[in-house]
């Protein structure tokens, strides 16, 4: 019987009892639950990572403007800007997260991780992590397994969907996955990995889902960049052995509780927050189709 990813606490206990590392337990889960073959799992992870890297590079190379005009080649501008606010690495991190997410907004190929709205966060962080630390691909793939394990638990205890739990569930979960993967890849121990997840969730709690005109563009694209930054700050804190005080399972439960009590106008309905601002409304009028037929009552399809 494999471990079923119902809590972080149990994940750690299981690892220690069976002398398995975090990523091996995720691998065992996929093999036993999905009858998957190990080689195919590694191949699937490699394909996902390849698509992520391609998305980063495509977003930094090709024309990226969306139909609505709200997304217009931002990632390339950030990448090429002569002034680095912190360091060139930070500038690259931010522009890569933007790039992959712009590809998503512009109908390019991405990996939903965990969702399409958050599809810039793991690519931006993993690409940059690998480059800075010269890690082999295989280490990154192990980190992705750990990230998947983190998402499995969040899915069970809270939610991964903006429509259910707000943006904290999408970009927050992706940031938590990324933070855990970073600490794992930099040889942090189990507690440090889980603290990185907990700290990230603490930073992302309460974020509402309020996409302008209902399109996955504003604020989604910039939130992919900020989530990538938070994943790195949390990893830096956790790797130094600084604890999260509130255990990771309880942080996730708090996220679930907040998501459940969030009003529906903050859950992808484009009725609150930024979507409801004056400018948000104007954009919505401009980009949404106004010429639609309204059925007279007696004509409703049976």
């Amino acid at each position: 019987m494999s471990f079923l990813f119902d809590s972080f606490k149990a994940w750690k206990t299981y690892c220690e009892a069976k002398h398995r590392s975090l990523h091996q337990v995720v691998l065992d889960y996929e093999v036993s639950q999905k009858n998957a073959i190990e080689d195919q799992i590694w191949a699937g992870l490699f394909r996902a990572y390849t698509v992520m890297r391609d998305a980063v590079e495509t977003g930094l190379r090709e024309e990226m403007s969306s139909r609505s005009g709200m997304i217009n080649n931002g990632a390339k501008k950030v990448f090429r800007h002569p002034v680095s606010v912190l360091s060139p690495e930070f500038q690259k991190l931010i522009s890569r997260a933007l790039a992959a997410k712009e590809v998503n907004s512009c109908m390019g190929r991405v990996v939903a991780a965990p969702t399409a709205g958050a599809s810039g966060i793991l690519p931006g962080t993993l690409y940059t992590l690998q480059e800075i630390h010269q890690l082999p691909d295989h280490k990154i793939l192990e980190g992705m397994l750990v990230a998947a394990g983190i998402a499995l638990i969040i899915e069970q205890k809270a939610s991964l969907a903006g429509a259910v739990g707000g943006c904290q569930a999408e970009t927050g979960s992706a940031a938590a996955m990324a933070a855990g993967a970073i600490v794992y890849c930099l040889d942090g121990d189990i507690d440090q990995v889980f603290n990185a997840v907990a700290i990230t969730i603490q930073c992302m709690l309460g974020l509402v889902c309020d996409p302008v005109a209902g399109l996955v563009e504003v604020p989604c694209v910039v939130r992919n960049a900020s989530a990538a930054a938070i994943a790195n700050s949390s990893a830096q804190i956790a790797l130094a052995g600084v604890g999260a005080v509130i255990p990771v399972d309880e942080c996730i439960e708090a996220m679930g509780e907040i998501g459940a009590s969030m009003e529906s106008r903050y859950k992808e309905t484009a009725m609150g927050g930024l979507a409801a601002t004056l400018t948000g409304q104007e954009i919505s009028k401009r980009v949404l189709i106004q010429d639609i037929e309204l059925l007279p009552d007696e004509n409703l399809p049976e």
Binding site: Y29, E30, C106, M107, A116, L152, L300
Partner: protein, 225 residues
């Protein structure tokens, strides 16, 4: 434990943006429809309902549906330029928007497709995460996910039909996951929709087709292949 998520639901699927319900799900509705039609259509009328009615352009669902009708998969980068491929392939299409069909799911698409003499109508719903429900085929309730292998059988409404069809399928090494029957009127045709865990043989399909009381049989293998 079929309900447990895969790690490739957490890191995956690989897809064309921007959103699984507006692109991946829409492509899959179109792919299911062309399997029902038996090939790419010559012409298509596409009606977007409710929430889709206003947002389909902004989300690129118009290109997604055309891409699916051209048999592109959910991760095919040609979806972005599907209109160019439609022009090159001579696929004619019109879009319609209907805003207040309250009996339909918020993200519903109706496809009226023509290929030669054959015309079909398919109503599909995009449920999120790329998961779909084909709600109706030619006016019959269908309700299948197109995730497994599906048989749609339109037959005379004779007694014993359900038992007969299931016993024939039982000879194959497949499990019936769901089976439903809907009728349009009394003594009219009955539409059987059967979802199976795996495929069945050509000969079995041919046998069922040869029966006089079976008027039409549509076999939809896994649409993601």
């Amino acid at each position: 434990m079929g309900t447990k998520s895969s790690i490739f639901d957490m890191i995956g699927p690989v897809m064309i943006g921007p959103s699984s319900s507006h692109t991946a799900g829409v492509v899959r509705i179109a792919r299911a429809a062309i399997k029902i039609l038996g090939g790419r259509p010559d012409s298509a009328t596409i009606t977007f309902y409710n929430s889709f009615a206003r947002t389909y352009e902004g989300h690129g669902s118009d290109r997604a549906i055309i891409g699916g009708l051209l048999d592109f998969n959910t991760d095919d980068e040609r979806i972005r330029t599907a209109f160019d491929f439609a022009a090159a392939n001579g696929l004619q299409y019109t879009f319609k928007s209907v805003g207040n069909a309250s009996i339909y799911h918020p993200n519903t698409i109706k496809l009226n497709l023509k290929k030669g003499d054959r015309e079909i109508e398919v109503i599909g719903e995009s449920l999120g995460g790329g998961v779909i429900n084909i709600a109706a085929v030619d006016g019959f309730n269908a309700n299948f996910s197109a995730q497994s292998h599906t048989l749609i059988i339109k037959a005379d409404d004779i007694s014993g039909a359900i038992a007969f069809i299931s016993s024939v399928i039982a000879q194959e090494k497949t499990n019936i996951a769901t089976m439903s029957v809907s009728r349009k009127g009394k003594n009219d045709l009955a539409c059987h929709v059967i979802e199976m865990d795996s495929g069945i043989r050509e000969t079995t399909i041919a046998y069922l087709r040869s029966l006089t009381w079976i008027k039409e049989l549509i076999y939809i293998p896994d649409i993601d292949i």
